[in-house]
Protein backbone atom coordinates (compact mmCIF):
# COMPACT_ATOMS: atom_id res chain seq x y z
CA UNK A 1 0.00 0.00 0.00
CA UNK A 2 1.54 3.32 -1.03
CA UNK A 3 0.66 6.83 0.10
CA UNK A 4 -1.19 7.63 -3.14
CA UNK A 5 -3.64 4.77 -2.57
CA UNK A 6 -4.22 5.88 1.04
CA UNK A 7 -4.75 9.44 -0.18
CA UNK A 8 -7.43 8.24 -2.64
CA UNK A 9 -9.19 6.31 0.14
CA UNK A 10 -9.19 9.40 2.35
CA UNK A 11 -10.53 11.53 -0.52
CA UNK A 12 -13.31 9.04 -1.29
CA UNK A 13 -14.43 8.98 2.33
CA UNK A 14 -14.18 12.77 2.57
CA UNK A 15 -16.57 13.03 -0.37
CA UNK A 16 -18.84 10.46 1.26
CA UNK A 17 -18.98 12.41 4.52
CA UNK A 18 -19.16 15.82 2.81
CA UNK A 19 -21.34 15.17 -0.27
CA UNK A 20 -21.24 18.87 -1.20
CA UNK A 21 -17.59 18.39 -2.25
CA UNK A 22 -18.50 16.06 -5.10
CA UNK A 23 -17.22 18.49 -7.78
CA UNK A 24 -14.27 19.91 -5.85
CA UNK A 25 -10.68 18.80 -6.45
CA UNK A 26 -9.12 17.72 -3.17
CA UNK A 27 -5.37 18.14 -2.62
CA UNK A 28 -2.87 16.92 -0.01
CA UNK A 29 -2.57 20.49 1.25
CA UNK A 30 -6.32 20.76 2.01
CA UNK A 31 -7.31 20.49 5.63
CA UNK A 32 -10.52 18.64 6.45
CA UNK A 33 -11.54 21.53 8.68
CA UNK A 34 -11.14 24.06 5.86
CA UNK A 35 -13.14 21.78 3.58
CA UNK A 36 -16.05 22.15 5.99
CA UNK A 37 -15.66 19.06 8.14
CA UNK A 38 -16.68 19.51 11.77
CA UNK A 39 -15.22 17.36 14.55
CA UNK A 40 -17.68 14.50 13.96
CA UNK A 41 -17.09 14.63 10.21
CA UNK A 42 -13.33 14.45 10.70
CA UNK A 43 -13.66 11.47 13.02
CA UNK A 44 -15.95 9.82 10.45
CA UNK A 45 -13.41 10.26 7.64
CA UNK A 46 -10.67 8.76 9.81
CA UNK A 47 -12.77 5.80 10.98
CA UNK A 48 -14.07 5.00 7.49
CA UNK A 49 -10.50 5.15 6.15
CA UNK A 50 -9.19 2.84 8.88
CA UNK A 51 -12.06 0.42 8.22
CA UNK A 52 -11.21 0.39 4.51
CA UNK A 53 -7.59 -0.39 5.42
CA UNK A 54 -8.59 -2.90 8.16
CA UNK A 55 -6.36 -0.96 10.58
CA UNK A 56 -7.47 -1.02 14.19
CA UNK A 57 -5.10 1.49 15.77
CA UNK A 58 -5.53 4.02 18.58
CA UNK A 59 -6.90 7.28 17.17
CA UNK A 60 -4.29 9.17 19.20
CA UNK A 61 -1.68 7.89 16.76
CA UNK A 62 -3.29 10.13 14.13
CA UNK A 63 -3.55 13.31 16.18
CA UNK A 64 -1.72 16.40 15.02
CA UNK A 65 -2.21 16.21 11.25
CA UNK A 66 -2.71 19.70 9.82
CA UNK A 67 -3.88 18.62 6.40
CA UNK A 68 -4.87 15.53 4.44
CA UNK A 69 -1.27 14.91 3.30
CA UNK A 70 -0.08 14.79 6.91
CA UNK A 71 -2.97 12.51 7.85
CA UNK A 72 -2.01 10.15 5.03
CA UNK A 73 1.59 10.21 6.29
CA UNK A 74 0.56 9.29 9.85
CA UNK A 75 -1.64 6.44 8.60
CA UNK A 76 1.19 5.22 6.36
CA UNK A 77 3.55 5.08 9.37
CA UNK A 78 1.08 2.84 11.18
CA UNK A 79 0.75 0.32 8.38
CA UNK A 80 1.99 -3.12 9.43
CA UNK A 81 5.29 -3.95 7.77
CA UNK A 82 5.12 -7.10 5.68
Amino acid sequence: MDKEKIFQIVVNHTREVLPELVERKIECSDSLRDLGANSIDRAEVVTLTLESLSMNIPRTALFGANNIGELVGLIYEQLPSD
Binding site: E16, P19, E20, I40, E44, T47, L48, L50, N56
Partner: protein
Protein backbone atom coordinates in the same frame (compact mmCIF):
# COMPACT_ATOMS: atom_id res chain seq x y z
CA UNK B 1 -46.33 42.49 33.76
CA UNK B 2 -47.25 39.65 31.46
CA UNK B 3 -50.48 37.74 31.83
CA UNK B 4 -49.26 34.33 30.63
CA UNK B 5 -50.75 32.63 33.64
CA UNK B 6 -54.19 34.13 33.05
CA UNK B 7 -54.75 33.11 29.46
CA UNK B 8 -55.16 29.76 27.78
CA UNK B 9 -52.69 29.05 24.98
CA UNK B 10 -53.79 28.43 21.42
CA UNK B 11 -52.71 26.22 18.53
CA UNK B 12 -51.53 28.05 15.42
CA UNK B 13 -49.83 25.41 13.30
CA UNK B 14 -50.08 21.76 12.31
CA UNK B 15 -47.64 19.29 10.77
CA UNK B 16 -48.40 15.64 10.11
CA UNK B 17 -46.65 12.77 8.39
CA UNK B 18 -48.30 9.40 8.66
CA UNK B 19 -49.06 6.19 6.89
CA UNK B 20 -52.08 8.04 5.48
CA UNK B 21 -49.73 10.35 3.56
CA UNK B 22 -47.53 13.39 3.90
CA UNK B 23 -49.16 16.62 5.06
CA UNK B 24 -52.46 17.91 6.41
CA UNK B 25 -54.49 17.53 3.23
CA UNK B 26 -53.56 13.89 2.65
CA UNK B 27 -54.16 13.05 6.31
CA UNK B 28 -57.52 14.82 6.52
CA UNK B 29 -58.78 13.39 3.22
CA UNK B 30 -57.87 9.83 4.23
CA UNK B 31 -59.37 10.15 7.70
CA UNK B 32 -62.67 11.50 6.46
CA UNK B 33 -62.85 8.92 3.67
CA UNK B 34 -62.03 6.14 6.12
CA UNK B 35 -58.93 5.07 4.17
CA UNK B 36 -56.09 3.17 5.84
CA UNK B 37 -52.83 1.50 4.85
CA UNK B 38 -52.65 -1.68 6.92
CA UNK B 39 -50.66 -4.61 5.63
CA UNK B 40 -47.61 -6.72 6.46
CA UNK B 41 -44.72 -4.54 7.65
CA UNK B 42 -42.00 -4.37 4.98
CA UNK B 43 -39.39 -1.86 6.11
CA UNK B 44 -35.99 -3.59 6.56
CA UNK B 45 -35.54 -4.84 10.12
CA UNK B 46 -39.25 -5.21 10.84
CA UNK B 47 -39.61 -8.96 10.38
CA UNK B 48 -37.63 -12.03 11.38
CA UNK B 49 -39.50 -15.29 10.77
CA UNK B 50 -42.61 -13.23 11.46
CA UNK B 51 -45.48 -11.52 9.68
CA UNK B 52 -46.21 -8.52 11.87
CA UNK B 53 -49.03 -6.27 10.75
CA UNK B 54 -49.06 -2.50 10.67
CA UNK B 55 -49.12 0.58 8.49
CA UNK B 56 -46.01 2.25 7.06
CA UNK B 57 -45.50 5.71 5.59
CA UNK B 58 -45.66 5.27 1.80
CA UNK B 59 -43.24 6.99 -0.62
CA UNK B 60 -41.64 9.28 1.95
CA UNK B 61 -39.53 12.06 0.46
CA UNK B 62 -37.25 14.59 2.16
CA UNK B 63 -37.49 17.91 0.28
CA UNK B 64 -34.44 19.05 -1.71
CA UNK B 65 -33.81 22.07 0.53
CA UNK B 66 -32.46 19.73 3.22
CA UNK B 67 -28.79 19.31 2.28
CA UNK B 68 -27.19 16.03 1.15
CA UNK B 69 -25.23 16.03 4.43
CA UNK B 70 -28.47 16.12 6.43
CA UNK B 71 -29.80 13.34 4.24
CA UNK B 72 -26.72 11.19 4.94
CA UNK B 73 -26.56 11.78 8.68
CA UNK B 74 -30.19 11.30 9.64
CA UNK B 75 -32.34 8.34 10.55
CA UNK B 76 -35.79 7.70 9.11
CA UNK B 77 -37.43 9.08 12.26
CA UNK B 78 -35.18 12.18 12.02
CA UNK B 79 -36.19 12.82 8.41
CA UNK B 80 -39.89 12.36 9.14
CA UNK B 81 -39.52 14.82 12.04
CA UNK B 82 -37.90 17.44 9.80
CA UNK B 83 -40.66 17.23 7.20
CA UNK B 84 -43.37 17.38 9.87
CA UNK B 85 -41.77 20.31 11.66
CA UNK B 86 -41.33 22.13 8.37
CA UNK B 87 -45.06 21.89 7.67
CA UNK B 88 -46.00 23.13 11.14
CA UNK B 89 -43.41 25.93 10.92
CA UNK B 90 -44.83 27.24 7.65
CA UNK B 91 -48.43 26.77 8.74
CA UNK B 92 -47.87 28.95 11.82
CA UNK B 93 -45.73 31.44 9.85
CA UNK B 94 -42.95 31.12 12.42
CA UNK B 95 -40.56 33.04 10.20
CA UNK B 96 -42.25 36.10 11.77
CA UNK B 97 -41.04 35.20 15.28
CA UNK B 98 -37.72 35.94 17.01
CA UNK B 99 -36.06 32.51 17.14
CA UNK B 100 -34.98 33.14 20.74
CA UNK B 101 -38.70 33.11 21.65
CA UNK B 102 -39.42 29.78 19.94
CA UNK B 103 -39.11 26.44 21.76
CA UNK B 104 -39.42 22.78 20.85
CA UNK B 105 -40.54 19.90 23.06
CA UNK B 106 -40.26 16.46 21.49
CA UNK B 107 -42.43 13.73 22.95
CA UNK B 108 -41.12 10.20 23.06
CA UNK B 109 -38.01 8.13 23.56
CA UNK B 110 -36.23 5.31 21.71
CA UNK B 111 -37.10 6.86 18.38
CA UNK B 112 -34.93 4.65 16.15
CA UNK B 113 -34.75 1.17 17.59
CA UNK B 114 -35.02 -0.46 14.14
CA UNK B 115 -32.00 1.37 12.76
CA UNK B 116 -30.00 0.86 15.97
CA UNK B 117 -30.56 -2.89 15.66
CA UNK B 118 -29.22 -2.75 12.11
CA UNK B 119 -26.14 -0.88 13.35
CA UNK B 120 -25.57 -3.49 16.08
CA UNK B 121 -25.78 -6.29 13.52
CA UNK B 122 -23.38 -4.53 11.16
CA UNK B 123 -20.73 -3.74 13.78
CA UNK B 124 -21.01 -6.65 16.20
CA UNK B 125 -17.76 -8.16 14.87
CA UNK B 126 -15.97 -4.88 14.16
CA UNK B 127 -16.85 -2.52 16.98
CA UNK B 128 -13.63 -0.54 16.45
CA UNK B 129 -15.12 0.83 13.23
CA UNK B 130 -18.49 1.96 14.55
CA UNK B 131 -19.22 5.33 12.99
CA UNK B 132 -18.26 8.12 15.41
CA UNK B 133 -21.56 9.80 14.55
CA UNK B 134 -23.26 7.03 16.53
CA UNK B 135 -21.82 8.60 19.71
CA UNK B 136 -24.24 11.48 19.15
CA UNK B 137 -27.06 9.96 17.15
CA UNK B 138 -27.97 7.09 19.48
CA UNK B 139 -29.35 9.65 21.92
CA UNK B 140 -32.93 10.81 21.35
CA UNK B 141 -31.84 14.35 22.15
CA UNK B 142 -29.91 14.34 18.87
CA UNK B 143 -33.30 15.04 17.27
CA UNK B 144 -33.51 18.27 19.30
CA UNK B 145 -30.06 19.25 18.03
CA UNK B 146 -30.98 18.43 14.45
CA UNK B 147 -34.28 20.34 14.49
CA UNK B 148 -32.92 23.40 16.30
CA UNK B 149 -29.98 23.56 13.89
CA UNK B 150 -32.14 23.25 10.78
CA UNK B 151 -34.78 25.76 11.92
CA UNK B 152 -32.63 28.06 14.06
CA UNK B 153 -34.70 27.47 17.20
CA UNK B 154 -32.98 29.14 20.17
CA UNK B 155 -35.63 29.31 22.89
CA UNK B 156 -35.50 25.85 24.41
CA UNK B 157 -35.50 22.25 23.23
CA UNK B 158 -35.77 18.98 25.08
CA UNK B 159 -37.44 15.57 24.94
CA UNK B 160 -40.08 14.23 27.30
CA UNK B 161 -41.00 10.58 27.64
CA UNK B 162 -44.35 9.17 28.68
CA UNK B 163 -44.67 6.02 26.55
CA UNK B 164 -47.88 6.29 24.48
CA UNK B 165 -48.80 9.51 26.29
CA UNK B 166 -45.57 11.19 25.15
CA UNK B 167 -47.28 13.30 22.50
CA UNK B 168 -49.77 14.84 24.89
CA UNK B 169 -47.03 15.19 27.49
CA UNK B 170 -45.02 17.25 24.98
CA UNK B 171 -48.03 19.54 24.45
CA UNK B 172 -48.46 19.98 28.20
CA UNK B 173 -44.76 20.80 28.66
CA UNK B 174 -44.96 23.25 25.76
CA UNK B 175 -47.91 24.94 27.49
CA UNK B 176 -45.86 25.25 30.69
CA UNK B 177 -42.97 26.77 28.73
CA UNK B 178 -45.33 29.44 27.40
CA UNK B 179 -47.13 30.05 30.67
CA UNK B 180 -43.88 30.61 32.55
CA UNK B 181 -42.77 33.08 29.91
CA UNK B 182 -39.75 31.06 28.74
CA UNK B 183 -40.92 31.37 25.14
CA UNK B 184 -43.86 32.86 23.23
CA UNK B 185 -44.23 29.93 20.87
CA UNK B 186 -43.44 26.30 21.55
CA UNK B 187 -43.69 23.49 19.03
CA UNK B 188 -44.75 20.16 20.49
CA UNK B 189 -43.82 17.12 18.46
CA UNK B 190 -44.75 13.47 18.80
CA UNK B 191 -41.78 11.80 17.14
CA UNK B 192 -42.00 8.68 15.02
CA UNK B 193 -41.14 5.62 17.07
CA UNK B 194 -39.40 3.37 14.55
CA UNK B 195 -39.85 -0.17 15.84
CA UNK B 196 -37.66 -3.12 14.91
CA UNK B 197 -38.62 -6.79 15.01
CA UNK B 198 -37.49 -7.14 18.63
CA UNK B 199 -39.85 -4.42 19.89
CA UNK B 200 -42.68 -5.78 17.73
CA UNK B 201 -42.14 -9.30 19.04
CA UNK B 202 -41.96 -8.05 22.64
CA UNK B 203 -45.22 -6.12 22.26
CA UNK B 204 -46.78 -9.26 20.81
CA UNK B 205 -45.40 -11.48 23.59
CA UNK B 206 -46.65 -8.98 26.14
CA UNK B 207 -50.15 -9.38 24.74
CA UNK B 208 -50.35 -5.70 23.86
CA UNK B 209 -50.06 -5.98 20.09
CA UNK B 210 -52.60 -7.88 17.90
CA UNK B 211 -53.55 -9.54 15.69
CA UNK B 212 -53.62 -13.26 15.86
CA UNK B 213 -57.31 -13.24 15.10
CA UNK B 214 -56.91 -11.37 11.79
CA UNK B 215 -53.39 -12.55 10.88
CA UNK B 216 -54.42 -13.11 7.26
CA UNK B 217 -56.70 -10.09 6.95
CA UNK B 218 -54.53 -7.05 7.78
CA UNK B 219 -57.27 -4.62 6.87
CA UNK B 220 -59.52 -6.02 9.59
CA UNK B 221 -56.90 -6.28 12.33
CA UNK B 222 -57.07 -2.77 13.78
CA UNK B 223 -60.47 -2.45 15.49
CA UNK B 224 -60.55 -0.27 18.61
CA UNK B 225 -63.69 -0.67 20.74
CA UNK B 226 -64.98 -3.58 18.65
CA UNK B 227 -65.91 -6.82 20.36
CA UNK B 228 -63.43 -8.71 18.13
CA UNK B 229 -60.36 -6.54 18.86
CA UNK B 230 -57.23 -8.33 20.07
CA UNK B 231 -54.62 -5.63 20.62
CA UNK B 232 -53.09 -2.56 19.00
CA UNK B 233 -51.70 -2.46 15.48
CA UNK B 234 -48.56 -0.40 14.88
CA UNK B 235 -48.69 2.60 12.56
CA UNK B 236 -45.82 4.89 11.59
CA UNK B 237 -46.62 8.53 12.22
CA UNK B 238 -45.28 11.84 13.48
CA UNK B 239 -47.17 14.99 14.37
CA UNK B 240 -46.36 18.53 15.43
CA UNK B 241 -48.51 21.36 16.72
CA UNK B 242 -47.48 24.94 17.36
CA UNK B 243 -48.60 26.20 20.77
CA UNK B 244 -48.61 29.96 21.21
CA UNK B 245 -49.50 32.55 23.81
CA UNK B 246 -52.58 34.65 23.13
CA UNK B 247 -50.48 37.82 23.36
CA UNK B 248 -48.17 36.58 20.63
CA UNK B 249 -51.05 35.58 18.37
CA UNK B 250 -52.77 38.95 18.83
CA UNK B 251 -49.60 40.75 17.78
CA UNK B 252 -49.37 38.58 14.67
CA UNK B 253 -53.10 38.87 13.90
CA UNK B 254 -53.23 35.12 13.27
CA UNK B 255 -56.38 33.03 13.57
CA UNK B 256 -55.65 30.00 15.73
CA UNK B 257 -57.13 26.57 15.12
CA UNK B 258 -58.17 26.05 18.72
CA UNK B 259 -57.75 27.17 22.29
CA UNK B 260 -56.41 24.68 24.82
CA UNK B 261 -58.90 25.02 27.64
CA UNK B 262 -57.48 22.33 29.91
CA UNK B 263 -54.70 19.82 30.39
CA UNK B 264 -53.97 17.19 33.02
CA UNK B 265 -51.49 14.48 33.95
CA UNK B 266 -52.28 11.78 36.51
CA UNK B 267 -50.01 8.91 37.53
CA UNK B 268 -51.22 5.51 38.72
CA UNK B 269 -48.08 4.57 40.66
CA UNK B 270 -47.76 1.49 38.48
CA UNK B 271 -44.80 0.34 36.39
CA UNK B 272 -46.84 -2.15 34.38
CA UNK B 273 -48.71 -1.77 31.09
CA UNK B 274 -52.18 -2.32 32.53
CA UNK B 275 -54.68 0.57 32.52
CA UNK B 276 -56.24 2.06 35.63
CA UNK B 277 -59.93 2.93 35.79
CA UNK B 278 -59.27 5.20 38.79
CA UNK B 279 -56.39 6.97 37.01
CA UNK B 280 -58.47 7.56 33.90
CA UNK B 281 -61.45 8.89 35.84
CA UNK B 282 -59.10 11.15 37.76
CA UNK B 283 -57.45 12.59 34.64
CA UNK B 284 -60.83 13.25 33.01
CA UNK B 285 -62.12 14.99 36.14
CA UNK B 286 -58.88 16.98 36.40
CA UNK B 287 -58.98 18.20 32.81
CA UNK B 288 -62.67 19.16 33.01
CA UNK B 289 -61.95 21.03 36.25
CA UNK B 290 -59.00 22.84 34.68
CA UNK B 291 -61.14 23.74 31.65
CA UNK B 292 -64.08 24.68 33.90
CA UNK B 293 -66.38 22.56 31.78
CA UNK B 294 -69.19 20.22 32.69
CA UNK B 295 -69.25 16.84 30.90
CA UNK B 296 -72.25 17.88 28.80
CA UNK B 297 -70.26 20.78 27.34
CA UNK B 298 -67.96 18.27 25.63
CA UNK B 299 -69.49 17.39 22.26
CA UNK B 300 -66.65 15.26 20.84
CA UNK B 301 -64.24 12.72 22.32
CA UNK B 302 -61.05 11.48 20.72
CA UNK B 303 -60.18 8.58 23.01
CA UNK B 304 -56.90 6.74 23.44
CA UNK B 305 -58.64 3.65 21.97
CA UNK B 306 -55.84 1.34 20.86
CA UNK B 307 -57.75 -1.90 20.35
CA UNK B 308 -56.42 -3.36 23.58
CA UNK B 309 -59.09 -5.65 25.07
CA UNK B 310 -58.67 -4.36 28.62
CA UNK B 311 -57.56 -0.84 27.69
CA UNK B 312 -60.62 -0.03 25.57
CA UNK B 313 -63.00 -1.51 28.12
CA UNK B 314 -61.41 0.50 30.94
CA UNK B 315 -61.53 3.71 28.95
CA UNK B 316 -65.22 3.29 28.10
CA UNK B 317 -66.04 2.65 31.75
CA UNK B 318 -64.11 5.75 32.81
CA UNK B 319 -65.80 7.95 30.19
CA UNK B 320 -69.18 6.58 31.19
CA UNK B 321 -68.54 7.20 34.90
CA UNK B 322 -67.59 10.80 34.08
CA UNK B 323 -70.89 11.44 32.28
CA UNK B 324 -69.35 11.47 28.81
CA UNK B 325 -71.41 8.80 27.06
CA UNK B 326 -73.48 11.14 24.90
CA UNK B 327 -70.74 13.10 23.08
CA UNK B 328 -69.72 11.96 19.60
CA UNK B 329 -66.78 9.55 19.74
CA UNK B 330 -64.56 7.92 17.09
CA UNK B 331 -61.15 6.24 17.20
CA UNK B 332 -58.37 7.76 15.08
CA UNK B 333 -56.13 4.74 15.68
CA UNK B 334 -58.62 2.57 13.77
CA UNK B 335 -57.29 4.34 10.64
CA UNK B 336 -53.72 5.35 11.57
CA UNK B 337 -52.75 2.44 13.77
CA UNK B 338 -50.90 3.15 17.00
CA UNK B 339 -48.06 5.63 16.63
CA UNK B 340 -46.95 5.12 20.26
CA UNK B 341 -44.84 8.20 21.11
CA UNK B 342 -46.50 10.13 18.27
CA UNK B 343 -50.08 9.06 18.99
CA UNK B 344 -51.07 11.84 21.39
CA UNK B 345 -50.18 14.58 18.93
CA UNK B 346 -51.38 12.73 15.82
CA UNK B 347 -54.77 12.49 17.51
CA UNK B 348 -54.78 16.18 18.44
CA UNK B 349 -54.03 16.90 14.77
CA UNK B 350 -57.01 14.68 13.89
CA UNK B 351 -59.19 16.71 16.28
CA UNK B 352 -58.02 20.03 14.77
CA UNK B 353 -58.55 18.89 11.18
CA UNK B 354 -62.01 17.58 12.04
CA UNK B 355 -62.78 20.99 13.58
CA UNK B 356 -61.54 22.63 10.38
CA UNK B 357 -63.62 20.41 8.09
CA UNK B 358 -66.73 20.38 10.30
CA UNK B 359 -66.80 16.60 9.93
CA UNK B 360 -66.03 13.58 12.10
CA UNK B 361 -64.14 10.65 10.62
CA UNK B 362 -65.46 7.08 10.71
CA UNK B 363 -64.12 4.38 13.02
CA UNK B 364 -62.81 1.56 10.86
CA UNK B 365 -63.84 -1.99 11.72
CA UNK B 366 -66.19 -0.90 14.48
CA UNK B 367 -68.91 -3.43 13.69
CA UNK B 368 -69.88 -4.46 17.21
CA UNK B 369 -69.08 -1.65 19.68
CA UNK B 370 -68.29 -2.92 23.17
CA UNK B 371 -70.65 -0.23 24.48
CA UNK B 372 -73.40 0.39 21.91
CA UNK B 373 -75.02 3.17 23.94
CA UNK B 374 -72.14 5.55 23.13
CA UNK B 375 -72.52 8.03 20.27
CA UNK B 376 -70.09 6.30 17.88
CA UNK B 377 -69.15 7.55 14.44
CA UNK B 378 -68.95 4.17 12.79
CA UNK B 379 -68.97 3.43 9.07
CA UNK B 380 -69.08 6.88 7.48
CA UNK B 381 -67.96 10.38 8.32
CA UNK B 382 -70.65 12.73 9.52
CA UNK B 383 -71.11 16.50 9.55
CA UNK B 384 -70.57 17.98 12.97
CA UNK B 385 -69.14 21.32 14.06
CA UNK B 386 -67.00 20.41 17.07
CA UNK B 387 -67.30 23.00 19.83
CA UNK B 388 -65.28 21.48 22.65
CA UNK B 389 -63.26 18.28 22.37
CA UNK B 390 -61.70 15.96 24.91
CA UNK B 391 -58.67 13.85 23.93
CA UNK B 392 -57.08 11.18 26.10
CA UNK B 393 -53.73 9.38 26.10
CA UNK B 394 -52.54 6.58 28.33
CA UNK B 395 -49.05 5.10 28.51
CA UNK B 396 -47.27 2.08 29.94
CA UNK B 397 -45.94 2.86 33.38
CA UNK B 398 -49.19 4.31 34.68
CA UNK B 399 -49.39 7.67 32.95
CA UNK B 400 -52.73 9.24 32.00
CA UNK B 401 -53.00 12.57 30.19
CA UNK B 402 -55.92 14.60 28.86
CA UNK B 403 -56.50 17.77 26.86
CA UNK B 404 -59.62 19.87 26.23
CA UNK B 405 -59.73 21.98 23.08
CA UNK B 406 -62.20 24.64 22.01
CA UNK B 407 -62.83 25.30 18.34
CA UNK B 408 -61.75 28.80 17.25
CA UNK B 409 -63.48 28.59 13.87
Amino acid sequence: MNNYHLTKPVITGIGITSNLGQGQAAFSDALLAGRSAFGYLRRPGRQQDSSFLGAEIPDFTLPEFFSPRVRRNTSFSDQVALVTLNEAWKDAKLEQIDKCRVGLVIGGSNFKQRELQQIYQKYQDKAAFIRPNYGVSFMDTDLCGLCTEQFGIKGLAYTVGGASASGQLAIIQAIYAIQTGQVDVCIAMGALMDLGYLELQAFKSLGAMGSDRFAHEPDKACRPFDLNRDGFIYGESCGAVVIESVDSVRKRKLKPYATILGWAIEMDGNRNPNPSYEGEVKVIESVLGEAQLSPREIDYINPHGTGSPLGDETEIKALSACGLSSAYINATKSLTGHGLSAAGIVEIVAVLLQMKSSKLHPTKNLKLPIEPSFNWVQEKSIFHEIQRALSLSMGFGGINTALCLENNK
